[in-house]
C-alpha cells in the first residue's frame, strides 16, 4: 500500500510539472460506473476509473503514448477495493524506421486486428480482458514489438512479436464464475483385477463423487521459446478492405492436462467412492488463421470476419488414479482406470466468425446487426453458439440525447431444442450529453433464457446502471 501511495504521488507530481508545459499532451477521462441488481438491490459493480493519457509526437518521426488507469473496484470495505495503477499503454512509435513507410512500435500496446464491430474473432494477439464482461472487445495490453509496412497507399503488412505470455483476465466480482469452463469429470472409475489373483466380486465400475477440486495453473516457462508471432496482410481492392492474418501463440484460457485423484473414502459394496482431485491446468497453443473484409454497398456498411483455430497438438486430460491396493492395505491386484479425456484434437479445428451490417436511415436512426458464431471463450466446434445481436439508436434534441431502445441479442445454444436452450438480452440505453466533454449513460440489462448457456447464468443479475464519463 505504501508503494502504491508513493507511485500515486509520483504520478500526480509528474502531471503537475508536465502540465505546465504547453507541448505536453496530458488528457484522459474520469469514469464512475455503478450497477445494481434489479431484483434484490445488491450492488453488482462499483468502479471509479481515472485514465491518464500522455501523448507526445516528435515532429513526424516518432510518438510516445502512455495510458495509466487508477481505479477503485468493488466494495469500499474490501481491501482489494483500491487497484494498483495499471499501465494500459506505454509505447513508442518510430515512423519510417530504417526504410520509408516502415513503422516500428515498441512497448506495451494494443494491437487491434479485425474489421468487425467490437467482437473480432481475429483479434487474438492481446489476451481478452473480461474483467467487466459487458465491456466487449476489451483486451489486456501486451508488451510487444510490431512493425507496419505500407508498400503502397492501399497495402499494409504487419508483423508482431509478443515475447511474454499473459493469461486472459477472467471476469471480476459477481461475474467471476460466468466464463469458467465447466469441469466435467468422469462420473465413474473402471475397476478390474490383474490375472493370477483370487477373484473378487468387484463391480466393473465404481461411481466417483468429487469432494474437492484443486486447480494448479501451469504457466508457460518465462523464456523466448514461448513467445507469440503474428502476421497480417491488408489490401484495399475496388472499395473492399480485406485482410488475411496468422497468429501462433498461447490461448489465454487454460485447459486441464493432468488430474491426480486421491480417495477420501471408498465403499465398494455401495459402489461409491469419494475423491479429491488435484488438476493441473496448462495453456494450449493455437495456430490461428484469420480473414476479414469490410465495405459499403448502396449505403450499407458490411463486414465479415472469420478465424480458423488449429491446436498445435492433441490436448488430453490424463487422469491419474490411485493405487487401491495400497489404500486397502493388501495387494488384491485391483487396477483402477479412468480413460483420458480429449480436450482438443489437432485434426479437429474450429472456425468462429461474425458477419454484420449497419445503416443510417434518412431520419437519423442508426441500425447495427451482427451474427456471431462462437463467443470469445468458446472453443471447439461443439461449443460454438450462435449470437444474433442488434442495436438501434438515434440522437435527438440537438444530439444532446442518444436513445437506444432496441439493443440486445438472442443466443441459441441448441437448434434441435431451441425452446430449452436459448437466452435473450435486452439492453436499452439512454445517454445524455450535457456538454461536449460529459457523457451520462443509464439503462438496464435484462436477460432471460433456458438451458446451460453462458448468458443464462446472468439471468438473476438483471441490472440498472449509471455510467458517467468526463473527458479532459
Amino acid at each position: 500500500m505504501k508503494r502504491l501511495a508513493i507511485f500515486n504521488i509520483f504520478v500526480v507530481c509528474f502531471i503537475i510539472v508536465n502540465g505546465q508545459n504547453e507541448n505536453s499532451g496530458w488528457k484522459g477521462y474520469v469514469q464512475p460506473d455503478y450497477r445494481v441488481n434489479m431484483h434484490d438491490g445488491k450492488w453488482l459493480w462499483n468502479e471509479n476509473r481515472l485514465s491518464l493519457q500522455w501523448d507526445k509526437k516528435f515532429e513526424e518521426k516518432a510518438r510516445f503514448v502512455t495510458d495509466i488507469w487508477f481505479r477503485t473496484l468493488g466494495n469500499p470495505n474490501d481491501p482489494a477495493w483500491l487497484k494498483l495503477p495499471e499501465v494500459r499503454e506505454a509505447k513508442i512509435e518510430v515512423y519510417d524506421f530504417i526504410i520509408p513507410k516502415l513503422d516500428l512500435t515498441l512497448g506495451r500496446q494494443r494491437m487491434k486486428w479485425g474489421t468487425a464491430d467490437k467482437i473480432n474473432p481475429t483479434d487474438n494477439i492481446n489476451p481478452h480482458d473480461l474483467e467487466d464482461i459487458w465491456d466487449f472487445g476489451r483486451h489486456k495490453p501486451s508488451d510487444a514489438l510490431s512493425l507496419k509496412y505500407y508498400p503502397t497507399e492501399k497495402t499494409k503488412m504487419e508483423l508482431v512479436y509478443a515475447p511474454f505470455f499473459q493469461p486472459i483476465q477472467m471476469p471480476a466480482g459477481v461475474y467471476s464464475n460466468l466464463l469458467m469452463p465447466e469441469f466435467s469429470f468422469p462420473d465413474s472409475m473402471s475397476i478390474r483385477q490383474k490375472p493370477g489373483y483370487p477373484p473378487l466380486p468387484l463391480p466393473s465400475k465404481v461411481a466417483i463423487i468429487v469432494d474437492t477440486l484443486t486447480l494448479t495453473y501451469q504457466n508457460p516457462a518465462f523464456n523466448i521459446n514461448h513467445s507469440a508471432y503474428a502476421f497480417r496482410f491488408s489490401q484495399h481492392i475496388k472499395g473492399i478492405d480485406i485482410s488475411a492474418s496468422y497468429h501462433y501463440g498461447f490461448d489465454g484460457i487454460p485447459v486441464p492436462s493432468h488430474a491426480y485423484i486421491t480417495v477420501d473414502s471408498m465403499n465398494l459394496l455401495q459402489n461409491r467412492t469419494y475423491i479429491s482431485v488435484n488438476t493441473t491446468l496448462e495453456y494450449p497453443k493455437f495456430h490461428r488463421i484469420g480473414l476479414d473484409f469490410t465495405t459499403s454497398v448502396k449505403g450499407i456498411g458490411l463486414w465479415g470476419e472469420a478465424c480458423l483455430t488449429i491446436p498445435d497438438k492433441n490436448y488430453l486430460l490424463k487422469i491419474h488414479t490411485p493405487d487401491l491396493n495400497q489404500i486397502l492395505g493388501i495387494d488384491l491386484g485391483i487396477v483402477s482406470e479412468v480413460p483420458d479425456s480429449v480436450i482438443f484434437k489437432k485434426n479437429k479445428p474450429w472456425t468462429k466468425f461474425v458477419i454484420g451490417a449497419d445503416y443510417t436511415f434518412e431520419n437519423g436512426i442508426y441500425v447495427n446487426m451482427q451474427y456471431l458464431h462462437g463467443f470469445l471463450h468458446e472453443r471447439t466446434s461443439k461449443e460454438l453458439n450462435d449470437y444474433y445481436l442488434i442495436r438501434m439508436e438515434k440522437r435527438v434534441l440537438d444530439e444532446k440525447i442518444k436513445l437506444a431502445p432496441v439493443s440486445g441479442g438472442l443466443v441459441i445454444n441448441d437448434y434441435k431444442d431451441v425452446s430449452n436452450n436459448y437466452a435473450w438480452m435486452w439492453i436499452p440505453e439512454f445517454v445524455y450529453y450535457p456538454n461536449d466533454n460529459t457523457e451520462i449513460a443509464t439503462g438496464v440489462k435484462i436477460i432471460d433464457g433456458k438451458g446451460k448457456g453462458t448468458f443464462n447464468s446472468l439471468k438473476d443479475l438483471d441490472e440498472v446502471y449509471l455510467r458517467i464519463k468526463y473527458s479532459f
Binding site: D103, S296, G299, G301
Partner: protein, 243 residues
C-alpha cells in the same frame, strides 16, 4: 417545317443551351473552389443550439485536389484526435482514439450531422459539386449567378435540390440553399469574408443553418496555407492512425 416542330426544336435548343451554360458555370465554380493544388487549414467551429447556447470545436484539415481530405479534431477533449479520411470512390475512414483503429464509414452515414455540427459528412466531403450534381439552370441576379443543381442518380443524398448563389466576377459561392424531397428548404450555407488570397478566391467564414432545428454552425478558417506540396502519403490510413 411545321410551326410546332420549330417550336419544339427551339425549346430543346433553349433548354440545352441553358443546361450547357449552367454546366459551364458549375464547372467554373468548382474550378474556383478547388483551384489550390492543396490546402492546410486550421478551423474553429462554433455550434449554436436553438437557444443560442454555444459549444466550440477546433480541427485541422488538409486537402489535395478535390478528392482527398483528412480532417482531425483538436478540441474539445472528448473529440480530440477523432479523424476522418475521405478518398475517391466514396471511401471514408473514421479514426477514434478510444476505438484505437480505423473504421470504414458506410455511405448512408454521410447525410448525418458531422460531429454534432450542422454540417453533414456529405457537406464536408471534398468531392466537386459537378461529380455529385447536375446543373439544371442558371440565371443572373445583379452581380450574381443563381445556379440550380439536382443530385446525379448515382449520388445518394437527402438533398433533392441545391440553389447556389455565386459571384459573377470570381465564381465563388456566396450562398447554398438545400432542399428536401418536399421541396422545402432545410439548410442554408452562407459564405463570408470572401477575398483573394494569393492566386485564389476563398471564403474564411461559413455559416450553416439547419432551418428545421433552428440551429447553426459557424466554421471559421483561423489559418490557411495553400500549395505547400502535400504528398499523397498524407492522405492514407497510415497517417490517419498516427494522429
Amino acid at each position: 417545317m411545321k410551326p410546332l416542330n420549330v417550336l419544339i426544336i427551339s425549346l430543346l435548343w433553349a433548354i440545352t443551351s441553358v443546361a450547357q451554360n449552367a454546366s459551364e458555370v458549375l464547372k467554373k465554380m468548382d474550378d474556383a473552389i478547388y483551384a489550390p493544388k492543396d490546402q492546410s487549414i486550421s478551423i474553429k467551429m462554433t455550434v449554436y443550439d436553438k437557444n443560442g447556447k454555444t459549444s466550440v470545436r477546433e480541427a485541422t484539415t488538409m486537402q489535395k485536389g478535390n478528392n482527398k481530405r483528412i480532417f482531425r479534431f483538436t478540441s474539445p477533449a472528448s473529440q480530440a484526435g477523432i479523424g476522418i479520411l475521405s478518398l475517391p470512390d466514396d471511401v471514408m475512414y473514421l479514426y477514434m482514439p478510444a476505438y484505437e483503429k480505423e473504421r470504414r464509414i458506410a455511405s448512408s452515414a454521410k447525410n448525418q450531422g458531422f460531429a454534432g455540427t450542422d454540417f453533414s459528412y456529405d457537406d464536408m466531403e471534398s468531392k466537386s459539386y459537378a461529380e455529385k450534381y447536375d446543373a439544371i439552370s442558371v440565371k443572373t441576379e445583379g452581380n450574381d449567378y443563381v445556379l440550380e443543381l439536382k443530385p446525379k442518380p448515382t449520388h445518394k443524398t437527402d438533398y433533392t435540390k441545391l440553389i447556389i448563389t455565386l459571384g459573377k466576377d470570381n465564381y465563388y459561392p456566396k450562398k447554398v440553399q438545400y432542399f428536401d424531397k418536399t421541396n422545402n428548404q432545410i439548410k442554408e450555407l452562407n459564405n463570408s469574408k470572401i477575398e483573394k488570397k494569393g492566386n485564389y478566391w476563398v471564403a474564411t467564414v461559413f455559416e450553416m443553418k439547419d432551418l428545421r432545428k433552428g440551429t447553426k454552425t459557424v466554421m471559421e478558417f483561423t489559418s490557411v496555407k495553400y500549395d505547400s506540396g502535400l504528398s499523397d502519403d498524407e492522405f492514407t490510413v497510415r497517417k490517419l492512425t498516427q494522429k
